[in-house]
């Protein structure tokens, strides 16, 4: 562990923090080497807003930073600590934390790092992302100098609009589609000839690689950077944002379990860690209580939910099972497999939604439309409501289906389930059209659930209801 206090000096209590880490190791946690740095609240808000200590500049990060700083100043939220998925793990502590706070945070951070190191979802993430992002930031800054703020920003706007449309299963490293070729296949003449041992074969001929893409393509950013007529620097910027998106997805998909894991262990470790004074114990307990508070009635604090689920799992299935769960599960499987009906009842959970069952017509809302109703207390509904905003990185399933005659044709695959915001979609298509330099078309469902084809070309936008 390396600790740096404010201004680079030693942090009081560093020795005790080391002992906390020893206890964590004894209990079975295995984490990356820790580099702890104590920073002022504005810096902490900045790192939290960017997700990484140094990242390419973009106004959207500035927006988040501004909001966080404002919330921090108004006392709406306070960030005590922040840890980066990296080897070594960089952790940042708020400079106003007490020594006892920092002991708890050290245990918390160690558990996070253990999670990063061992959870299956994180296996493919870059462990040198802190350096990589800083290098990317320098390149983007150079592009800004060279090609101008406007162009780089417009490109980044488009990239951030699409950054969640990546193919999480195929991963960040992709080969281009195979080129056009004629494939000869040997086929048994009759349906069961191979089983019967007969040797009659016929030859079939098919052409592959004629169509781009050969299959519906979910990785829009990769597709554009590979197949749109772009300059090298533009491909690079799209690539940077795409890679960062892959890096951040596991954190998006393990919010509940990761925080639950960290909270579970900071309690566990500090209980084992005997040398707290009574006053410090009280302080630590107060901080813990604030961290795992259930939250206001119409939301559930993920720290609280994860903590309760893991506690429940340990009680029912034992600690060994916890370690297996930490390696194998993400939020989806954790909620589906371990948020039981009993636990839902114990935590008093419910799913809520708009009080009006009619399709809301814009500008025409009945009084019921404004009501928020308790929909159900069944565990199934609660699980669905918890996970609904997390599927597919929280964005509609949009795929590229065709590029015939230079028209980039997209499709919303879940258009029968949920409609899209057409204004937003139109703006996004217009931005894509500028990159594609040809017409862009999207088949999707609108606000009212009706299917519609949006076509963006130089001539403008065309809305065609099926």
């Amino acid at each position: 562990m390396t600790v740096c206090g404010p201004g680079g000096g030693a942090l009081p209590g560093a020795r005790r923090m080391d002992r906390v880490l020893d206890t964590a190791r004894d209990l079975g946690l295995d984490f990356f080497d820790l580099r702890i740095e104590v920073v002022p609240s504005d810096v902490l808000a900045q790192i939290a807003a960017y997700g990484l200590p140094i990242r390419a500049a973009h106004w959207s990060h500035g927006k988040v930073f501004q909001r966080m700083r404002l919330h921090g100043r108004m006392g709406l939220s306070k960030i005590f600590e922040l840890v980066i998925n990296n080897d070594p793990a960089y952790a940042f502590y708020l400079d106003t934390n007490t020594e006892a706070d920092n002991l708890l945070l050290t245990a918390h951070v160690a558990a996070h790092s253990d999670f990063f190191k061992h959870n299956e979802l994180f296996a493919g993430t870059r462990r040198d992302m802190v350096d990589e992002a800083a290098r990317s930031a320098a390149r983007v800054a150079a592009y800004r100098q060279r090609y101008g703020q406007e162009r780089v920003e417009a490109l980044m706007d488009t990239a951030f609009a699409l950054h969640r449309h990546v193919d999480l299963h195929r991963g960040p490293h992709r080969r281009p589609y195979p080129g056009r070729r004629v494939v000869m296949r040997r086929r048994p003449a009759g349906p069961y000839d191979d089983l019967a041992g007969r040797q009659d074969y016929s030859m079939s001929e098919s052409v592959e690689g004629d169509q781009v893409p050969p299959h519906p393509e979910r990785d829009l950013l990769w597709f554009l950077s590979r197949y749109a007529p772009l300059d090298d620097w533009e491909r690079d910027v799209l690539g940077i944002i795409r890679h960062e998106s892959f890096y951040f997805y596991p954190q998006f998909a393990t919010k509940i379990i990761n925080e639950g894991w960290a909270c579970f262990w900071h309690v566990e470790i500090l209980q084992q860690h005997a040398d707290l004074t009574p006053a410090e114990t009280l302080e630590v307990m107060r901080l813990h209580a604030a961290v795992v508070a259930p939250g206001p009635g119409l939301s559930v604090n993920p720290y609280y939910l994860g903590f309760k689920i893991l506690q429940d799992v340990e009680r029912r299935l034992g600690r060994e099972h916890l370690f297996a769960l930490r390696s194998a599960e993400d939020d989806f499987s954790l909620i589906r497999n371990y948020l039981t009906g009993e636990l839902c009842r114990e935590l008093n959970l419910f799913a809520y939604g708009p009080g009006c069952s009619l399709h809301p017509v814009p500008d025409q809302r009945c009084p019921n439309c404004r009501h928020i109703r308790l929909e159900s207390r069944s565990a199934g509904k609660v699980r669905d409501a918890l996970l609904a905003p997390r599927y597919n990185y929280g964005v509609p399933r949009i795929v590229v289906v065709d590029t015939a005659r230079g028209v980039l044709t997209l499709e919303q695959q879940d258009r029968r389930q949920r409609g899209m915001d057409l204004d937003y979609a139109t703006r996004t298509l217009q931005a894509m059209q500028r990159l594609w330099q040809g017409p862009v078309r999207l088949l999707c469902a609108g606000e009212d659930g009706r299917q519609v084809t949006l076509t963006c070309s130089d001539g403008g936008v065309d809305k065609d209801y099926a």
Partner: protein, 389 residues
Amino acid sequence: MEWGASPWDLHRRGLQDARRHDERVREALRRDLPRLITEEALITRRGDRPIRIPVRYLDLFRFRYADEEAARGVGHGPGQEGDVLAREERPGPQPGDLPGDRPGREVYEAEFTVDEVAALMMEDLELPWLEPAAAGPVPSPAGRVRDVQRRGPWSNLDRRRTLYRHMRRRAARGDAVPLSFHDDDLRFRVWAPDHRRAAQAAVYLLMDRSGSMSTERRYIAKAFFWLVTFLRRRYTHVDVVFIAHDTEAYVVPEEQFFAFSSSGGTCSSSAYLAALEHIHRRHPPEGWNNYAFHFTDGENFPGDNEKAVEAARRLLQVTRMVGCGEIVYDSWHQFQAGKEPVVTRRSSLFRALDELDHPRLILCTIGSRSDVQRAMRELLSVQGGRGER
């Protein structure tokens, strides 16, 4: 990488990007100005003192579900299925909002000065038909170089001429030592104030403050307020004369002009005549570019129309332009809500003025709050954009 040594004070990326976001908000705000221009808070402040305007964070365009913001989720606590837990309080989208630059739901406050807002609003506006006037040359703030001398303050050193002198002297002597300046080499500029003639203009603001103008007067006042702010920003030498009228007209000081409340009938002719009288006395047309802007609801005393048209005709002879803004609305509530009026009436006075058919008489109507900016643009669009002199 030595982390402990990193000077965190120098990490200003967040601030820089926040500033960029702020700029983008301002760009979006520019489109939103018609609505903003009639906001109450703006007019009550003067000068360059900052005002805080609630603006919304920008939301980047992307593919998103239509019901993304619907109140849906998981909560905890008591209650039975079907219970109403809360009411959703949120404003619907504003007309004209664009996604991508569409304001999000969350609000923060941005600081602007009235001058800044005026600048955003009136960037490309000008007083039309403005000419350098004959009388009374006015010093323009910039000076010009009158002479070059051998002595003077160092700040006025003319480096080019000095170097040239130096090179000539060296060349004449065949001296190879470079850059050995002598006092004789030095040349200094002498500045003189420039007495070029600048355009002189006087602007007459005529406001109907009759009883029929009780409620919407505030919005007229606002239009006037922006007009005055604009004039003061744009032109260094503009005389602004404030005339308030009902059946009689008075030249009033600026503060009273904006704070006045009154009642009574309307005789627009009185205001035109008062302006005429003032022009002849103080701003004769030979030396001055005169402008008159009149805002009224057009509810003129019918018997006065003829007189008013005649006065307007005479006023046009001594001014570069007369602009008349007419408030047209069906009901106050409609006006307040910013809706388009169902029936657009034109008052008898405006019909009469329209018959004058003078190229430098500009009539415009204000049908809703958001029209104020449009009216301003109509009155002050760029020179040459409309009609011939």
